[in-house]
Symmetry: D3
Subunit: 235 residues, 6 copies
C-alpha cells in the first residue's frame, strides 16, 4: 500500500495492526554518462515495492535527495547537507511515532558513508524513543554479489552491478554506449575535487553490464531483505 494513496482514516485503521512502514531514500546524483540521475531512487523504490509485496506494509513517500561527497561536483548531483538529511529523517520518524507507527524499514539507494551516518543518527534517536527501526542501503546487499557478477573486476559507483540493476528496472534509461570507468586511490586525502577519484564519473566496466545480471542481483537483494525483515520484525 502506498501511503500517499491512503486516506487519513484508512491510515489510522492500518496503524492499529502495527504494520511495517517502508521509507525509501533516493538521490539525484551523477552516475556516469550512461545512467540516469535518479539511479539511486529507482533502485530502493524497486526493492521496497517488491519486499512490501512479500511481507506486507505501507510505503511512505520517497525522500528524493541525499548527501554527496565524491560526486558533488559532477553535473546533475543535487546534494543536501548532512544536517538537512538528518533533520528530515528525524522529523519523519518523529511523525511516524506520533502517529503510532512502531516498525520502520529505511532503504537508501545511495551508499555514501556520510549520507548513511546522517540517517543512522536519526535512526538512533528514534530507537531511543522506542521505534523498532531497520536501516540499510540496498548496496550493502547488492555488493555481496560482486565476486559472482563481476568476475574479480573492480566495480563500484555506476559500474557493472549498478548498470545491470537499472537495465532490469528501467531499461529505457540506460545508454547503450558504455565504457569503462577507472578508480583513483585518494590515499586518505580529503580533497575539494573529490570527484577525481572517479575520472570517468563512474567506476567499473559498464560494458559488462546486462539485464540478466541486474535481475540476478535485484532478486538477491529482494529475497535477502525479505528474509531479514521477517527475522527482525516477525521473529
Amino acid at each position: 500500500m502506498r501511503m500517499d494513496e491512503m486516506s487519513s482514516a484508512a491510515f489510522a485503521e492500518a496503524v492499529k495492526k502495527d504494520p511495517l512502514v517502508f521509507l525509501p531514500i533516493g538521490a539525484m546524483e551523477a552516475h556516469g554518462p550512461h545512467l540516469p540521475l535518479g539511479t539511486d531512487t529507482f533502485q530502493p523504490e524497486f526493492v521496497v515495492n517488491a519486499v512490501c509485496e512479500n511481507v506486507g506494509g505501507i510505503i511512505a513517500p520517497t525522500i528524493n535527495y541525499g548527501q554527496h561527497s565524491s560526486t558533488r561536483n559532477f553535473p546533475g548531483t543535487i546534494d543536501i547537507s548532512f544536517d538537512t538529511l538528518r533533520s528530515l529523517v528525524m522529523d519523519i520518524l518523529d511523525a511516524f511515532q506520533r502517529n503510532g507507527v512502531g516498525k520502520v524499514v529505511i532503504v537508501s539507494g545511495h551508499l555514501g558513508s556520510v549520507h548513511r551516518a546522517a540517517i543512522k543518527l536519526a535512526c538512533e534517536r528514534a530507537a531511543r524513543q522506542g521505534l523498532k527501526v531497520m536501516f540499510l542501503s540496498d548496496y550493502e546487499l547488492a555488493y555481496l554479489k560482486k565476486t559472482e557478477v563481476c568476475e574479480g573486476m573492480p566495480d563500484g559507483h555506476g559500474g557493472i552491478i549498478e548498470t545491470s540493476r537499472i537495465m532490469d528496472i528501467r531499461p529505457d534509461l540506460v545508454s547503450s554506449e558504455r565504457t569503462e570507468g577507472g578508480f583513483v586511490d585518494m590515499r586518505f586525502m580529503v580533497r575539494a575535487d573529490a570527484e577525481s577519484c572517479l575520472p570517468q564519473g563512474f567506476g567499473g566496466d559498464a560494458r559488462k553490464a546486462c539485464k540478466e545480471k541486474g535481475r540476478l542481483v535485484n532478486q538477491f537483494v529482494v529475497d535477502t531483505l525479505t528474509d531479514l525483515v521477517r527475522k527482525n520484525f516477525e521473529g
Copy 2:
C-alpha cells in the same frame, strides 16, 4: 523532461540553454475521510507537468513532505519542521545554482502560512545569490475560482475545490461517501489542538465536488501559471 530520467551529461547540456527548472513541493497530510494523504502532492505534480509541457523546462524530483500546523494531529499527517523544510529548499536551490541553473519555479500544494514562510525564506536567500525564482502555492490561483465554483459557500481544506481537483487528477482515490466539513473560528488563539478549527477534518461541502469543477479549476491554474511563467521569465 524529468530530471531523474536525465543523465549527468544530458543535464549539463540542457543547463547551457538556461532552462526553467520546476520544483514541486508536496505533503503527506490528512485531508478528511474522502481524500488521500498525498492530495497536496498530486496537485502540484499535475500542475507542473502541464505547465512544463506548455513552456518547456526540467522537472526536479518532488519534495514529498511539508510543514503543518492545523492538521498536525490528524492521522497520517507527516510533518517536518519549519527549519528542516527551509534547509531542504535552501540546499536544493544552492545545488541548482552550483549546477548553473538560473531560473526556478517552485509550486507547493500545501497553502499553510508557516510552510510557505519556510520556502519563502529559502527563496529570498537564493534570490540574493542571483537566482531568478518564482514561488507560489497552486491554491493561490485555485482559490481565485472560489466564488465561481462554490457559489458563495465557505470552502477550504479538503472542500469543494480540492475534492474536485483530485476527482480530475486521481479519481480512483476519492471516496464517494462525502459529507460537509465545518469551520470553527479560533479568534486568534494559538492552540495545541489547532485541529479543532476543522471538526470534521476538512472544510467545505465535499458533496458538491465533481470532476467537471475540478477540470475547470485545474485548467485555470495551469493556464494562469503558464501565462505567469512566460511573463516572468520570457518577458
Copy 3:
C-alpha cells in the same frame, strides 16, 4: 500596569490572580517619507494600553525589532532574522510560564507573513506547554475597515489607514507633505529587490489620511480586541 514598574514582590502577588500579560511587538521599519520608523511600535503599544485599561492585566516591555522582507532595503529598516525573532518570543514565553503566567496576548504592529510565522511558531510551542496564548497583528483588525475608510482605493503599508492611525496616536511625527504610493505586482517572483513592489516606499494615497479616520480605526481595533480578549479568556 506596566511590568517594568512593578517590583518582584508585586509581580509575584499579581501573578497569583492569573492575570493577562500583554506583549507588544514593534518594529523599526521604513514607512514612506511621511511616517516615523517606529510606526509599528506606536500602534500596538497604543492598542495594548487601551485594551489593558478595559480588561486589566500586566503590560510586558515591548519587543522593539521585527523581521522584514519587502522593506528591508529601505533606509532605517532594522530587521532581525526569523530565527532570532522566534527565539526571542520563545524565551520570553518560557520565562512567563516559569513565572506562573498562564494567559498571554501578543499584539504585533508589523503584518509581514514571515514575521508572523516566527511568532506563531513560538506561540504554538508555548501552547503545547500549556499556555493560553492569543496572537494577532492589530492590522488583521484594522484592515477590516479598509472598505469603509478607503472608499475602494487600494491601501497598504504606510497608506491611508496607517497614516491616519499615527495621526491619531502621534500626530507630531506625521509629515504634512504626503503623496500617493503605488503597488507593483511581483507575480510570485521572490526578488532580492523586493522593495520594488513599493516604488514610493509605501502603498496608498496618504493624502487622504486624517486624524478622524485614524481615531475611527483605532477605536474599532481597541473595541474589537477588547471583545475578543474577553471571549477568549473570560468565557
Copy 4:
C-alpha cells in the same frame, strides 16, 4: 534624536554625517523588594539620553530583555538565552551596518558576565566587519564610585548605588521600606539555585541609599562616558 521618531528619509540623511548610534540594552530582572523590575532598563536609557545630549547622535530602540543567571529564579525575572541575546545584537548591528552606520555605542544596564559575553561576541563580529563599536555596562563606571559612596560596605545588585541611582531617575518606583541584603560566597560552585548567593534578593544596605548619592553616581557615569565617547570616536 530617537530613531523611532525619525522618518526613513530623515534617517538616511542623518546617516550621511556618520553619526553615533546608541543602543541601550535593558532587562526585566528582580532587584529586591524595593526596586522595579525595569531597573536595568531605566538606568542605561537615562545614561544614553544624557550622553547623547552631550555628544549628539541617534538613539535606537532599547532591547528590553537580557540574560540572567543568579536572579533567574526570582519572580519577575524574564530572561532570554545567551544565544538569543547574541543573535539579537548581531542582527541589529548587521542591519546598522547595512544602513551605513559606522559608529555604535552599546550600554547595558545589566552587568552579568554571561550576559555581557553574549553582547561582546556580537560586537567582535561587527568589529571584524568594520564597525567601530564601544560596549560597556554603566555599572563598570558606576562601581568606580563604590568606595566613595558606600563607605567600605559591600554593595552590589540592588544595593546602595543601584537604589540611589533609581531614586534619582524614577523616585516614584522606589519603595521607602528598605532593608539590608546579604551576600553568600558560592565558592565557585555552579548551582541550580544560584539565587542563594543573594538570600534577600539583593546585596547591600539599601537603607543607606538616597537621591543625592544617586545623582552623584549618575552624573559621574554620564560625564565619564561622555568623555570616553569623545576620545574613542572624535579623537
Copy 5:
C-alpha cells in the same frame, strides 16, 4: 615538535617552512575489561609521534574525546555528539589555516563510521578552503594485518590486534586476565542497546594477544603511514 611546547614566535617561524601539522584524535571509550579507557588515545599518539619522527612536522594537542554509538552504554565511555566533534575539528582547522598552516594529517584512534563522518565533513570544508588535509583512522591500516595476525579468527574492538598494540605501547595498562569476546549480528537494526552487538564488551580472542603482534602491527602502521604521508605531501 610538540606544538604546546613551542612559543608563539617559534611557531610563527616554523610555519614559514610549510610544515606538516599532525592532529591526533583520541577517545574515552570502554574497550572490554582488559584494556584502558584511553586505548584509542594512546594508539594514534604513538603513531603520530613515530611518523613525525620519520617525516618531521609539528604535533598539535590531542582531541581527547570522540563520538560513540555501539559502546556508548558501557561504563567509562564519554562520548561527545556528532555536531560537537565536527565543530571542534572545523574550528581547529580554521585556526590552523588562519595561522598559515597548509598541510594537516589527522589520525583518529576510534574507527566508528559516524565519528569519522563528523571529522570527514570538517576536513571537506577545510579542503574547499584550500587546506591539504589527510585523514584516516590508524585502524584502517592496522586491520590490513588482520589475516596475518588473527589467523582467520574474527577480530574487532578490543580484540587481538587492539590488545596487542596496547601491550606494545602501554603494557602496564593491559590486564593479564583476558577472555574471548563474541560478536552479535544486528542485521541492520538500529537499536537503543547497540552495545548488545558486543556481549562481552569487546570482540575477538584477547587471550591470543601479545606484545610481538602489537609491535608488528604498530610498525606496519607507522611504516605505511610514513610512506603515505611522504607520497601525499612531498610528491
Copy 6:
C-alpha cells in the same frame, strides 16, 4: 587516578563510591615570546594533579583547546568558538552524569571572560540536571597573590605570575630572554585587532619572574583549591 588509564570495569567500580572527577581545560594560546603555547594547559594539569593527590578522585582527559579574543591574532593561538567549547563541556558533563558521576571540578587555565561564560553555561545546565559542579580558573586564585608577588606592578597575561608558575612547572620551556610587556587601555572599544591591548604580546615585567615566586603561587593555588574542594564536597 587518570581516567584514561582505568579500564571500564575499574571506572564502574570507582564511580560507586561517588568520587570527584576533575576536568582540566587547557588552551593553545600565544603567551609572549618567552612562554610556550601550552602554558594554560600545563598550569591546570599541574594544579589538578596536586589537588587530586590531596583529596582523591579521578582525572579526566584534558580539553586542550579554548576560546580566545584578545590573543586570537597572535601566531599559535588555536581558538575554538564559544559554541564549540560550550557543547564540548556540555557533552562531557552529560556523559559523566549518564555514567553516574555526581561531583565534578573543572579547572581552566585560561581566564578569558567569554571562554569562562561558555563553560559556565554548560555547568549551569548540568547543575540543573543534578550535578554538583565546581568551576574556576586557577587564575582566580593565583591573582590573589598579585600584590604580594608583583610589588604593585601591573601584571597579567604572560607576566610575572604566569612566567613564574611555568618556571616552576616546566622550567625547560621558559626562555631566559625576557622583557616587559605593556598594557593599552581599550576604553571599552571592541576591536578586530583586540591584540593591540598587549603590544608585546604579554603584560607585565617578565624579567621579574622566578621559580620561587612560581612555587609560592602554585602552592597557594593548590592549597586554597584543596581547601575549597573539601568544603564544597565533603562538608
